[in-house]
Amino acid sequence: MVVLIKVVPDGKEVYVDPVTFTLNRSMATNVINPADENALEAALQLKDKHGGRVTVMTMAPPFAEPFLLECMSRGADQAVLISDKAVAGSDTYPTSLTLAAAIKKLGKVDIVFAGEKTSDSSTGHVGPGVAEFLEAELASYTRSLKYEDGYVTAERELETGVEVVRIPTPAVVTIITDSNIPRRATLRRKLDAMRKGIMVWSLNDINVPADWVGLRSSPTVVRKMLPFPRKDRKAKQIDESQFETLIEDLVKMKVINLEVSA
């Protein structure tokens, strides 16, 4: 099994203590993408049940190393960091390509896990993209899964309901955020991980030519950043004495109907 992860900026700048409900404002730091933590946990649960090896993989600069060690401290057997200056600026096409090439190098892989999306760019393209490059079956938006005799049975959570699909391996499964509770690292595993270390692969190691990746080989290009569009709204301040007028205005504008809901 392989788990694809990404290190992202911590989106929860504001954090509410679940016990006291007080606000904590912490500095934005880097974290493992939340859905990827759930993907790792899903893989580790399969490992607990059926055995097998779990390899965590990311494509990132060297700063990602401690996050890979963290995954090993939770129970992953090994970790691969694909680090190469040439990949800088890659969009989801070359990213999927590079990850797929690295997975192929690992040899026989039954299940590739990924988060449904990342919390920073949020495209959700890489999991399906890797599936396509590996010519693998795909179960996206999965909340739980089972493995039996070379088949994955996955519960996909869709807008309209939950679909249960059965696909043969090799398969890519993308896991939805909060679908399980990621286990904590143990001290023993942490020490093991530190001793073992991670594997660092360059593009050369996975036979991907440098001109296949990076900004120049990405089909999409960010052309410009624009200020956020803003409708011209009046922000009319209303005090308590005007609540009646406000409700009357809303009725007049036909955005609420008090007769129907009365």
């Binding site: 399906p128 396509e132 309901g161 009319k236």
Partner: protein
């Protein structure tokens, strides 16, 4: 089928013409997101003179093909097989990518439903082109045929404009609810072609074992949404916004931190990682107004914000603002609404 190789752009871009719209469906009915995308395609078609080509896959596509034409497609291709009642990642990719290779569209837009995103991401790799997700704006440069896709950036208040100038088709998805529905005209003229697809059951690797429909309220359909943010401060705040929502005949919504705290399911989350809503009335309660939230509700018809911080960012996006403690403001608003409702009930006329 898709070997590991870079995305080499085609040499002659001029042979790529037309705006293809993939029409996502559920139970052989077009999804709202699909109809939104026809509207997006139609607008670009009118602007550039390129034709709008719908592609629909299902078990019985006849009525969907017609609908697609009524809503604005110039040509609609339907692919049907009893095996296509539900979405299947690989066979649907085969069909959509096959149609792309056959028709060579300049642009391909796909509704950003979960299955749509699955399909778009896979198809983009298969056809070796570029895909931009979650576009808030999709437009075409009429003279160049270049797709202008704009999506919000994370953490700061900007939109990125993303282009795919060298590869074809230029692909984009948008979240459901991002666009208005186009109008339906049963008198429109359009060309249709329905193909029966022979599916070898043995080659179908993905088996759908069951489907359990969800009874959950779909807040994107609500006319009124009362949404709460961190300013609620405690879980009881949810009861309060629920009461106001009930009085107004609407549903509740929440910002991401509240859903992350588990006070309500993520189904109610409004914003970039939740639902995109555009109700008639959006009441933002204790929501500061981070861009991630704003993109999910800024197209609401009327926005009323309640916040104790008189400098709250959300006020810039609001028609009416109430500065005050929501635990005092909301009960008073409910009182006023109740009073108005009593007055609105028609009195029996004297005989």
């Amino acid at each position: 089928m898709t070997t590991l190789a870079k995305a080499v752009p085609p040499e002659d871009l001029s042979q790529y013409k037309g705006i293809m719209v993939y029409l996502d469906s559920f139970n052989d009915q077009l999804t709202r997101a699909a109809i939104e995308m026809i509207g997006v395609g139609r607008k670009m078609g009118d602007k550039s003179g390129e034709k709008v080509i719908g592609v629909v896959i299902g078990s019985q596509v006849q009525s969907m093909v017609k609908e697609a034409g009524y809503y604005g497609c110039d040509e609609v291709y339907g692919f049907q097989s009893p095996e296509f009642k539900m979405y299947r990642s690989k066979p649907f990719t085969d069909i959509l990518a096959g149609t792309v290779f056959e028709k060579k569209p300049n642009i391909l837009v796909v509704p950003g439903t979960k299955n749509g995103r699955d399909l778009a991401a896979r198809t983009a790799v298969r056809v070796r082109s570029g895909l931009t997700a979650d576009c808030m704006e999709i437009d075409i440069e009429p003279d160049t045929g270049i797709l202008i896709a704009r999506r919000p950036d994370y953490g700061d208040s900007t939109m990125s404009e993303i282009r795919c100038e060298k590869h074809r088709p230029q692909m984009a998805t948008s979240r459901p609810g991002t666009f208005d529905l186009p109008s339906k005209n049963p008198k429109r003229e359009f060309k249709t072609e329905i193909r029966d697809v022979k599916v070898d059951k043995n080659s179908l690797k993905e088996q759908i074992l069951s489907f359990i429909p969800k009874g959950e309220e779909d807040i994107t359909a609500s006319k009124v949404i009362v949404a709460g943010g961190l300013g609620l401060g405690r879980p009881e705040g949810i009861d309060l916004i629920r009461q106001l929502a009930k009085e107004l005949g609407g549903s509740i919504g929440v910002s991401r931190p509240i859903a992350d705290l588990g006070w309500v399911p993520h189904d109610f989350q409004v914003g970039q990682t939740g639902k995109i809503v555009r109700p008639d009335l959006y009441v933002a309660v204790g929501i500061s107004g981070k861009p991630q939230h704003i993109v999910g509700m800024m197209d609401s018809k009327v926005i009323v914000s309640i916040n104790k911080d008189s400098n709250a960012e959300i006020f810039k996006y609001s028609d009416y603002v109430i500065v005050g403690d929501l635990y005092e403001v909301i009960p008073k608003l409910i009182q006023v609404i109740k009073k108005k409702k009593k007055a609105a009930v028609p009195q029996p006329s004297p005989s």
